[in-house]
């Protein structure tokens, strides 16, 4: 049987997180009550004139730079004609002929662990269209148009057909999301609709370089769906070709419930005409240079620095730096004097799960880096033990008190005072004669049991390190 390989390219729409729309000052909040964020411009009333938002241009340009793309000195908007009720003006302003940037790439880790570079063809800006709402009014179906989204700022990232597997597409989208979040241009959430990906898929006999008829697949609402849809489409097309059926150019929709792609009706689309109402965007080398200077340290660079500066493993560093907020929080902890390993451990295994469980954002949680650092400092100084620290951390979400005060109020200060512990240890040793005997007979496990008993007697407040020292001394002196 003939072996096939897939040739895949992605077209990714990213909604920029600007305060206003692309060509007017209306708030860019599509989720508000229907049609409240509208004006003559985004309703495209007669006489209205678009005015390109500088903020949107900046965010789009930063996004391009963050994806290693080359900003063009001249780009321009075109009228992309299509007739559908979500676009009552009959054309969408988009950059068809002169895109904002060309080139660019993202490096991903392939399934065999090697680095694969996936290239970007170009990135252009465009306006979003209105949202169609189909409802029932009594027994009559009615269709409504919500213009809140009309004119929202989008960029479209068009890749080269460098992808061969669903894995490539999924890793590309994840890395893209990380990098775009880094530059602060978008949240890139496929679930919330701020990122939408369409895939162009064709197949060919493995080892050949021919380009065959492609099929476009839309409507994937998560990175996983993109992988599933591509995998399904590769299987479907391979089977068709094996059966001698031709692949025809068309668009299919992913059905996430049935896990299949189904053909959809084509929208009418015509060639694009340059739009004379929005003047071309001209950027001087100085302006492009100034934009590059605003680019933050990107995740790959940051991860490398974490390895070199803080002695983390490559895996730990990549994980930490994949989210700019997490990486920033980590660095705040270090600035507050927390040791890198303790910071990594407490941030990733304690704080993040707790924040997620409470449905908070890291940037919004009352457990600020300074407060967590104060807590970890008490731990480092043996003023509390790890159990108590976890307990205090949990309280810090509900109280703005300093960690030291919470420790005091809860009576969680660690008992390290020898005389207070001495009595407790003697009591436990007297009560656990069998375990003491086991220990003396060389069963080291018994020591752990005894420490556990002493901890329990102290109500969890004893300093386990001090107990261990004292216990070892005591038992060896008894045996001597």
């Amino acid at each position: 049987m003939m072996e096939f390989e897939a040739v895949i390219g992605l077209e990714i729409h990213v909604e920029l997180n600007c305060a206003t729309k692309l060509f007017c000052d209306c708030p860019n909040n599509p989720g508000d009550d229907p049609n409240v964020n509208t004006c003559p411009v985004c309703l495209w009333y007669p006489g209205a004139a678009p005015r390109l938002s500088q903020a949107a241009l900046d965010k789009a340009a930063l996004l391009c730079l963050g994806l290693n793309a080359e900003i063009q000195s001249k780009s321009a908007f075109d009228q992309k004609v299509y007739y559908y009720p979500d676009l009552p003006k009959g054309y969408q302003l988009s950059q068809a002929h002169l895109p904002l940037s060309r080139g660019g790439w993202i490096d991903i880790t392939d399934e065999d662990g090697s680095v694969k570079r996936l290239r970007i063809h170009h990135i252009h800006m465009e306006e979003d269209v209105a949202k169609l709402v189909h409802e029932m009014e009594g027994r009559n179906p009615i269709s409504l148009v919500d213009f809140n989204r009309a004119g929202a700022p989008l960029v479209e990232i068009v890749t080269e057909p460098d992808f061969r597997t669903p894995h490539h597409a999924m890793e590309f989208l994840k890395a893209l999301r990380t990098q775009v979040r880094y530059v602060g241009s978008s949240e890139c959430s496929m679930e919330n609709g701020t990122m939408r990906a369409d895939a162009n898929i064709s197949i060919r006999p493995k080892g050949t370089s021919q380009m065959n008829t492609k099929v476009e697949v839309k409507n994937m609402n998560s990175v996983r769906h993109v992988g599933d849809a591509i995998a399904y489409e590769i299987t479907r097309q391979s089977a068709a070709v094996q059966a001698g059926e031709p692949v025809v150019l068309h668009t299919r929709l992913w059905d996430p419930d049935k896990k299949v792609t189904l053909p959809m009706r084509q929208k009418f689309e015509g060639p694009c005409v340059p739009d004379p109402s929005v003047p071309p965007i001209e950027l001087s080398p100085d302006e492009i240079e100034a934009l590059s200077k605003r680019l933050p340290e990107m995740p790959a660079t940051r991860a490398e620095r974490f390895v070199n500066q803080h002695g983390l493993s490559a895996e730990e560093s990549t994980y930490l730096s994949s989210d700019p907020e997490v990486a920033g929080y980590f660095e705040e902890l270090l600035r507050e004097g927390v040791q890198p390993r303790a910071a990594l451990h407490w941030l990733t295994t304690q704080l993040l799960p707790a924040v997620r469980q409470r449905r908070q954002e890291l940037s919004q949680t009352p457990v600020t880096p300074a407060r967590l650092a104060a807590l970890l400092s008490m731990l480092a100084k043996d003023e509390i033990n790890a159990n108590a620290a976890r307990d205090v951390l949990s309280s810090m979400f509900d109280s703005n008190d300093a960690p030291a005060e919470i420790v005091k109020a809860k009576g969680l200060a660690q008992v390290s005072d020898a005389s207070a512990l001495e009595a407790m240890i003697d009591q436990v040793l007297a009560a656990q004669a069998a375990a003491v005997a086991d220990f003396k007979n060389g069963q080291s496990k018994a020591a752990g049991f005894l420490i556990g008993q002493i901890m329990q007697a102290s109500g969890g407040k004893a300093n386990p390190k001090v107990i261990r020292d004292m216990l070892t001394r005591k038992l060896s002196s008894v045996s001597a």
């Binding site: 007669p46 004139a49 009959g90």
Partner: protein, 397 residues
């Protein structure tokens, strides 16, 4: 029915202050006046009320002009058809001036028809925000008046950048001193190819008019611009493609009339768009759609030729101060051919974006004169017109 005004200003108070105080101005019905109907002669906009003042209206009012009302327009201002009342409000003394779109020469030709002065400013000098347009890269806000002094006064009030109009090139209007026309220091150029396009007897009449200018002291220089004839073709292709694309926004759903009998709402949208355009506009848009969808290569070529024409045209002004073109008396167009015939002597200024002034009226049996300046040379062209009106050369009003 009021055949001149589509809508008359019900408010009779006049503003006493400002440089246009006491001046009554009519504006074409596609120009938005907040709360007034905005209907450039098309059922596609029937019932639509302007949500805000057009920039030009705002400036007229700020400078003390009184708006007489909305004058009747051909559909979206294209062509001078039987519906268009352009110039009539001034003829009837209902207004001293009128503002209207000039897409291919409408304002200038209407002025010649009414025996008044008509001016198309440099493209982008007057903001177009708030005007229901059709051909963004060709059309400009034209000004008609009985006296060129009024045109100049109005232009000084309405010209200049508007922060709502992002399409305006970055330049402002500088109104220098109104004096300064010394005929013996001015060379007027005549494009031979434009003269040659006239019928024989009109050529003779044109020559007589040129002789008058020479008698007044102007130097007249014959120039050759072999590509002159391409202006009409470029306007035909680029203009109609732009119109076909941008007229999509007049959807006839949220305002205007919806088409009946659609199967579903998508179908209703598709059927309504353009359903109520009249035959002339419809054929114009279909022609544009043809070039856009079937002959995009021709459209791209036309854009390239346009850039070349602009360059060639600006080079003519290295040899002369202004150009004089003949303007032929138009018939009301019923077909596309009629439309292009109407604008063969005016479309070049829309293609190149240059300022152009027609001096009223048509000579008996001959063409009217049109003075065209280099880009942004609006003030000089108007000063020339004022000089001519005072010396009664070229124009009689």
């Amino acid at each position: 029915m009021d055949s001149t005004f589509f809508y008359r200003n019900p408010n009779r108070t006049e503003s006493p202050a400002g440089k246009l105080a006491g001046m009554t101005v009519a504006v074409q019905s596609g120009i938005g006046v907040a709360g007034w109907p905005m209907d450039p002669g098309s059922d596609a906009l029937a019932g639509f009320k302007a949500p805000e003042n057009a920039a030009v209206v705002e400036r007229l009012q700020q400078n003390g002009a009184f708006l007489a009302g909305l004058s009747r327009s051909s559909e979206f201002g294209l062509g001078l058809d039987a519906e268009s009342a352009a110039g009539r409000a001034i003829e009837q003394k209902d207004a001293r001036a009128e503002i209207m779109l000039d897409l291919a020469g409408e304002a200038r030709l209407a002025a010649c028809r009414s025996g008044i002065w008509g001016f198309k400013p440099t493209w982008g000098l007057v903001p177009k925000v708030g005007i229901a347009g059709l051909i963004p890269s060709m059309e400009a806000c034209g000004i008609l008046a009985g006296a060129p002094e009024d045109i100049r006064l109005i232009l000084s009030a309405v010209a200049g950048p508007d922060d709502r109009d992002f399409s305006q090139p970055a330049f402002s209007y500088a109104d220098g001193s109104p004096a300064g026309i010394q005929p013996d220091r001015i060379t007027l150029g005549v494009v031979e190819e434009a003269k040659a396009s006239l019928p024989g007897d009109e050529q003779k009449a044109f020559d007589e008019e040129l002789a008058q200018l020479q008698k007044a002291g102007f130097k007249v220089k014959m120039l050759s611009w072999p590509d002159y004839g391409l202006c009409g073709l470029v306007h035909r292709i680029v203009g109609s493609v732009e119109a076909s694309s941008s007229a999509g926004r007049y959807d006839s759903v949220r305002y205007g009339k919806r088409a009946p009998g659609a199967k579903n709402w998508n179908d209703m949208y598709l059927q309504s768009r353009g359903a109520f355009f009249k035959t002339l506009l419809k054929s114009y848009l279909i022609q544009g759609a043809y070039f856009q969808f079937e002959r995009y290569d021709a459209y791209e070529n036309a854009c390239r030729i346009r850039a070349r024409l602009c360059k060639e045209f600006s080079r003519l002004f290295e040899q002369v101060d202004a150009l004089v073109f003949p303007v032929q008396k138009p018939d009301a167009p019923e077909t596309l051919e009629g439309l292009y015939d109407q604008f063969k002597s005016t479309a070049h200024a829309n293609v190149t974006g240059c300022p152009a002034l027609t001096a009223a009226p048509f000579a008996a049996g001959g063409p009217a004169l049109q003075f065209v300046g280099a880009l942004k040379d609006d003030v000089r062209i108007l000063a020339l017109g004022i000089f001519l009106s005072r010396t009664a050369t070229g124009g009689k009003s």
